[in-house]
Symmetry: C2
Subunit: 325 residues, 2 copies
């Protein structure tokens, strides 16, 4: 089968379409005929890294496609349209997926739309509701509102918790888009000091939950923005990882919960549990079109280099998809 | 009635016994005839502070005594022996207590023992189980094992979760004592590097939960000691509050949850909810003597200066009690 690997650690130019043997599912897995895969920052890290933190040479952690073969201990029938997380191997014609991570694709969605769901919506769900415990009508600050996880989180926070959603982005186009998804307060971080805006828009309450993809460069302003008893979820470090001065007293006096998290390296059981809860609590919202997958651009399988460059240029609003068929 | 206040912000010499009017309970409160009150670091901070972060001049946040008068909307009868948190005013002959925070004193305990329970056992319960989510057979690192909260946490972690309990203290006497309470690994922080011991004693797993009273000076070693998916609860800063260097990458890659918390400034509803859960899950352990309040020393009401100095000298193992009657 065709599959995409990095010839050696490096830039997008290292990506190449190659031939690999078709994987074989064990008794708890499905063999998926892939129709679409999505591009994630994890793939870029994996492409650049000497070790590859997923232990598989074929890139890609999420796919949508059709079940071709089902392990003996699974209950999903061949022919079923499914989407979900894979343990690497997603940029290919076929991949195996643990059956307890496969989600049936709602009928109103295409494969390209479906491939845009698992990683970002599961991450948004995990961070907002498991770590952030976002409650009815609370206030949530979602940075990088135009990103894949950002666009997913804005919608879920609004639809599931009726939260007041505050978001930051770096262009008017992205801000307008986050507004169309339901964000209440849209802040251009290049023009405004977001902590002032957050406090003003929340009558000095601050944000009960912060989704932070930025890290060091936003630390001070996030600390100013967060409410007493706030939950601050760190899921990216686009603005650096090194802090030079931190006051633990601020963490204590505001009773802040700061959680660092990642989805991809977690174990199979965690992903299965998260998927199961997501299917019951969030997937119906797609069927009724209260929530929608956000596809930025669809690239053909052979255009994978351009797809990675597009993500690295931070130009996308929502997900970048590779069409496999 | 007799009551203890600080004449002006300052050292223990500012503490004085004075006359104050007896407080009057509202419909949801109890008037308690106090038999014993306990000394807390909060009282020292309050004594030293210009503003007093409790808005009442009489010191003291926990008492044990007898209900003298019950508000019309309470169900506890006058004459009942109770213990619990008060919103200041504990160093006195009488205090009012919200009725939903009053815990009936188990018959096998004296008033002095009972006064040693609320603050430290509720704090230990809150941090271990609400913030730390300490699960069956997990590994917990409890710093300041000889302190009030430390001695409470060692017992609760062992009895409720059957956890592997690792603890640090600064003298052999304190270490022996923590051992007698059930601690599995007792580390003298003056003689050993605790992170090495924690990793060795847990087969490199690390601590799933850390109760940290120390802050800055232990930061690096706590980071080394904590397990992946570990919960790190910051409840004191005896070793300073200012960190000079923090790597957010460590927080993310280990998926750490760092929570700053305090009990005293929390609102009435929180304290009521915590008390209710503690009464149902932990109080029976006292009745069956699986868990015991740790009284270091009992001072008379007039010896309050010595009582404060004793705590400031870090000499106590367990609680320092003021006998009121």
């Amino acid at each position: 089968m065709k599959a995409i690997i990095a010839n050696q650690p490096g830039g997008a130019e290292q990506l190449a379409v190659t031939e690999r043997p078709k994987p074989e599912p064990n008794q708890n897995e499905l063999l998926i005929k892939i129709k679409a895969a999505a591009v994630n920052r994890t793939d870029i890290i994996n492409r650049q890294s000497e070790s590859g933190y997923l232990n598989i040479p074929i890139l890609g952690v999420e796919v949508a496609g059709i079940v071709e073969q089902a392990g003996t201990e699974t209950t999903i029938q061949p022919g079923t349209r499914v989407m979900g997380l894979v343990n690497g191997g997603g940029y290919a014609e076929y991949a195996v997926m643990p059956a307890n991570r496969a989600m049936k694709i709602p009928e109103n969605l295409s494969f390209e739309q479906a491939a845009a769901i698992p990683e970002v919506f599961l991450t948004a769900y995990q961070t907002l509701f498991w770590h952030g415990r976002l409650a009815e009508s609370e206030k949530v600050l979602i940075h990088a509102g135009g990103s894949g996880v950002g666009t997913a989180a804005i919608q879920l926070a609004k639809q599931i918790s009726n939260a007041q959603v505050l978001t930051t982005a770096g262009s008017q186009e992205k801000l307008d888009f986050t507004k169309s998804l339901g964000a209440d307060v849209c802040i251009n971080y290049k023009e405004q000091t977001f902590d002032d805006d957050v406090l003003q828009s929340t009558e000095n309450h601050g944000a009960d939950v912060i989704l932070d993809f930025i890290g060091a460069s936003y630390w001070r302003k996030n600390m100013n923005s967060i409410a007493v008893d706030g939950r601050w979820i760190l899921i990216g470090m686009l603005g650096g990882a090194q802090l030079e001065e931190v006051s633990l007293w601020e963490l204590m006096s505001k009773r802040i919960q700061l959680t660092g998290t990642l989805l991809t390296p977690r174990d199979d059981q965690y992903k299965a549990d998260l998927t199961a809860e997501f299917v019951s609590k969030a997937l119906p919202l797609f069927k009724y079109e209260k929530v929608r997958p956000i596809v930025d651009q669809i690239f053909s399988f052979n255009e994978v280099q351009q797809a990675h460059e597009h993500m690295e240029g931070n130009k996308n609003i929502g997900k970048i998809i590779l069409k496999v068929d």
